[in-house]
């Protein structure tokens, strides 16, 4: 089993040599990248908005609960929510959710094309299918997912504001003071490094699972599940590594 998994790692790494090759037609690749950016970006905005607003709100409520009976000033709510979002939740939670939404979709789309002989048809036309089907998805992912993560940070903070200020848990002045306190610009860099790495992981791993699928609909379903599970595991592993290296 270990040998089999290592074989997949080797195949995955070598496959990158085929993905990043000169396109047959730049215009076609550009069009496909824009389509993918739209699908990933606009298609995921609602789910990112929803999870972010609730994570922000819950973080604020939980922190307020922990503050009860302590001498920690109230403006810390804004500060903690901001740093939680920037350092951890925006990038990690967003990408874990996107692995489920986009990752399974990519694996199913490419796997379906493999099963319906679309990939063979393109290969025979002379198309480098690894490049045409995968490269635009990876490029679109690494461009648009950091944008979604940025949106997530803002919505996280917005969620925390809605959960605290209108209900008198914190005043607006305190909340804004918290948001503006102890800001470390490097945390934003770490957030973008995470967003970039996680985007690469979830798009490439999912495409790999779809591209090399064999068998029928049961195998396609399994590949789709593996795309999500492996992406999530790798995101968490790299979350730890990035935290270790960059903080």
């Amino acid at each position: 089993m270990v040998r089999n998994q290592l074989g997949h790692v080797g195949k995955f790494v070598l496959w990158h040599g085929q993905i990043f090759q000169k396109p047959e037609n730049w215009k076609m690749y550009y069009k496909e990248t824009i389509r993918q950016m739209y699908d990933i970006g606009i298609g995921s905005l609602t789910i990112v908005f929803l999870i972010s607003v609730f994570i922000g709100a819950v973080t604020a409520i939980q922190f307020t609960y922990q503050l009860e009976g302590t001498f920690i000033p109230g403006y810390y709510i804004g500060y903690i929510v901001r740093d939680m979002a920037v350092i951890e939740t925006a990038a990690t939670i967003t990408c874990l959710v996107l692995a489920g939404k986009i990752g399974s979709n990519m694996a199913a789309e490419i796997g379906g094309m493999r099963q319906k002989e679309h990939i063979d048809a393109m290969e025979i036309m002379g198309v480098n299918t690894s490049a045409y089907l995968v490269m635009p998805k990876i490029i679109a992912g690494v461009i648009i997912i950091p944008v979604l993560v940025s949106v997530s940070v803002l919505v996280n903070i917005g969620g925390a504001y809605i959960a605290t200020v209108p209900f008198g848990i914190s005043t607006e002045a305190e909340f804004v003071q918290g948001i503006r306190s102890f800001f470390i610009p490097n945390n934003v860099n770490i957030m973008y490094v995470k967003a970039f790495v996680f985007a690469y992981i979830l798009t490439s791993v999912s495409c790999y699972q779809g591209y090399f699928v064999r068998g029928g609909s049961i195998e396609l379903g399994a590949a789709s599940t593996r795309a999500v599970v492996y992406s999530d595991i790798l995101i968490l592993v790299f979350d730890y590594i990035i935290a270790l290296v960059l903080t």
């Binding site: 037609n25 215009k27 076609m28 002989e117 063979d120 048809a121 025979i124 036309m125 002379g126 198309v127």
Partner: protein, 255 residues
């Protein structure tokens, strides 16, 4: 011309092809026939480069397809067109987009030029005016014809057809055979058809290769089929009692 020399292919312990030599001639409809499991599809996939043989050579003209690097393989592939058994039409694209796809990918023609070419190909397969339909909105026979239109849009030198008649009624199957034959002759294409349709064998079998258990069991053309004494060919072609009766009737008439 495509020439194959000593083609062997194994999948783990199972030897599917056992040393096949054959010449697929230009301007003719070359048929690969044989029972299910004889190795027809494997041979076709070796010809188009989807499978690599264990041993042997595939020559397109004088070039051994198997010794080429990826760039040169792609160049030869751009001279190929293929009709798949399941059509392999891109279901999220319209018919026009399907046929235009190779042009979009490999040419710098303007949209108007590409449309003209698409319309010509649709006209060639007698399907004018369905440009904006999706593959799911047309019949199986029409999908086959769209597959042919897509396969010929780049004016290939080689056309490969995997079971072009499967799932079609006899009348439509004959139309598809005639269409493939006409295109082959008009454009002087080397066409290779993988089939077990007897009608195709008798109508368009200009150069036939019969496979049996991974070996070349017989070669010839449609005119030689009836007179052949090859036992394997006889068992394959005249498998049903009805066809056996027809053969004996034809032979007695000839006498």
């Amino acid at each position: 011309m495509i020439k194959i020399e000593g083609i062997y292919k194994s999948f783990e312990d199972l030897e599917v092809l056992k040393g096949i030599d054959f010449v697929f001639e230009p301007g003719k409809t070359n048929l690969i026939i044989g029972r299910s499991g004889a190795g027809k599809t494997v041979l076709l996939k070796i010809l188009v480069g989807l499978f690599k043989p264990t041993k042997g050579a595939v020559l397109f003209g004088d070039t051994n397809f198997l010794n080429l690097d990826k760039k040169d393989v792609r160049e030869i592939r751009m001279q190929m067109g293929m009709l798949f058994q399941g059509n392999a039409l891109f279901d999220s694209m319209t018919i026009e987009e399907n046929i235009r796809f190779p042009l979009d990918m490999f040419t710098n023609q303007t949209l108007a030029e590409k449309r003209k070419k698409v319309n010509y190909c649709l006209e060639r397969v007698a399907l004018e005016g369905i440009n904006n339909k999706y593959p799911s909105e047309i019949s199986g026979g029409m999908q086959k014809r769209v597959g042919i239109a897509r396969a010929i849009v780049l004016e290939p030198k080689y056309l490969f057809c995997d079971e072009p008649n499967s799932g079609l009624d006899p009348k439509t199957a004959i139309k598809i055979d005639e269409l493939i034959h006409d295109i082959t002759v008009d454009n002087n294409i080397t066409t290779v058809i993988n089939t077990h349709d007897m009608n195709s064998v008798m109508e368009i079998g200009e150069n036939i290769c019969l496979l049996e258990n991974g070996r070349l069991a017989w070669q010839g053309n449609k005119n030689e089929v009836l007179d052949s004494q090859n036992e394997i060919l006889e068992k394959f072609i005249f498998a049903s009692p009805f066809l056996q009766r027809l053969k004996s009737m034809a032979l007695s008439k000839a006498k």
